[in-house]
Subunit: 197 residues, 2 copies
DNA sequence: ATCTATTTTTCTTTACAAGAAAATACCTTC
DNA sequence: GAAGGTATTTTCTTGTAAAGAAAAATAGAT
């Protein structure tokens, strides 16, 4: 049922395990954590084993003992070292449609075969018409490097022209759109930070 | 008293405001959010105004409607919109020394005049000798895109050859070093995540 | 074995989130 | 200015599950 589904989702955060990890890390006993936090040992035991879901005020008490923010319990665990390569020849390129007007540019996702990555890369090739792409916005920040040609980028209304070799950095939450500025083809590398803030 | 202090601490997270921001961002009414989340409008109103502290299952329901993780409500506010451009002609390029052997490559920092940025960009130009750079490691992750030529990159001992247009993604904590692989000059864009974990 | 120390369980209480419905505020439109 | 419709806030009640107290169990050492 519904509540089941939800609590399952919550369990994936492993709040209890994280509390226990913090505590054992400092070599503390439940009783000591209880003293410092003003919470009963029994409840702490239940929390650590996921038997109950602490309320936010309770969780905050625990967090304060260890000097961490609440985000500690909800951010993804730091990913293990990993290397992922995408070779040009192996990559798929797919056209990005622009309404009914036809393709505006090709889009090439630097698809790294990794689940928990913090950066996403795209190679955009503005080889066709020079109509602006649909303005869009999303979480994170964006860094764009113009590999070839001239790129016009509109961020929150303001349009700027970037020459080959130029780079721009901005908050992805501001609506932005691209279009080819020059007469010849233009390509740019787009790096965006992935969701996890 | 204690509970007062604690709830004050919670308020600083501004959970309610964040919920409201999410909702208004999508132009939703309380009723619509209520439908999608299965929560009553009255309660949602109270949550948004900080009148009650939602339980984690409840907060998760809201989070799921907007496709965000719980961390969204507990991580520091995303920095305000900012745009920073670096034009090629204005940039400084400085040679990176390689021991006493002379310059290995030129280094061009895409220095965005911003303090709180999450990404750093560098344009490395391996125009001289092809000796490997000093292995180094740091926090964060790294994305490298080969703009021109061939780049050999060694990560944790393993060396790989990247062709023009290839890209690689890896954890910066693993010691890594670069060197030019081909006979002709090579340049690559290096994007690294900045400190903030 | 026995005696600590720590964790887990059981049982009870109670706080407070959650819901329903009425009331208020907020716009339009006539 | 009144009427009507939507969105939000308030009030009141209820039910659930967190939180505490104390006993049981587990483990660890002497």
């Amino acid at each position: 049922m519904l509540s089941d589904t939800l609590s399952k989702g919550l369990e994936e955060y492993e709040i209890g395990s994280k509390v226990r990890a913090l505590r054992l890390d400092k070599g503390m006993a439940l009783a000591q954590l209880g003293e410092h936090s003003g919470l009963s040992v029994g409840m702490l035991s239940k929390i650590e084993r996921g038997q109950i879901i602490p309320t936010l005020p309770t969780l905050l008490r625990i967090a304060m003992v260890y000097g961490v923010g609440l985000d500690h319990f909800f951010t993804e665990d730091n990913d293990r070292p990993l290397i992922a390569v995408t070779h040009k020849k192996e990559r798929m390129r797919f056209p990005e449609r622009q309404g009914a007007k036809g393709e505006t540019y090709f889009f090439e996702s630097l698809n790294f075969p990794a689940t928990d990555r913090k950066l996403n890369g795209f190679l955009a090739e503005f080889s066709m018409k020079s109509e602006p792409s649909e303005p869009h916005s999303h979480d994170g920040v964006e860094l764009i490097y113009v590999v070839k040609g001239q790129l016009a980028i509109a961020i929150g209304g303001e349009e700027q022209i970037l020459d080959e070799g130029d780079a721009i950095y901005f908050d992805s939450q501001t609506p932005h759109s691209y279009r080819r500025a020059g007469k010849s083809a233009c390509s740019a590398l787009i790096v965006v930070t992935a969701d996890g803030e």
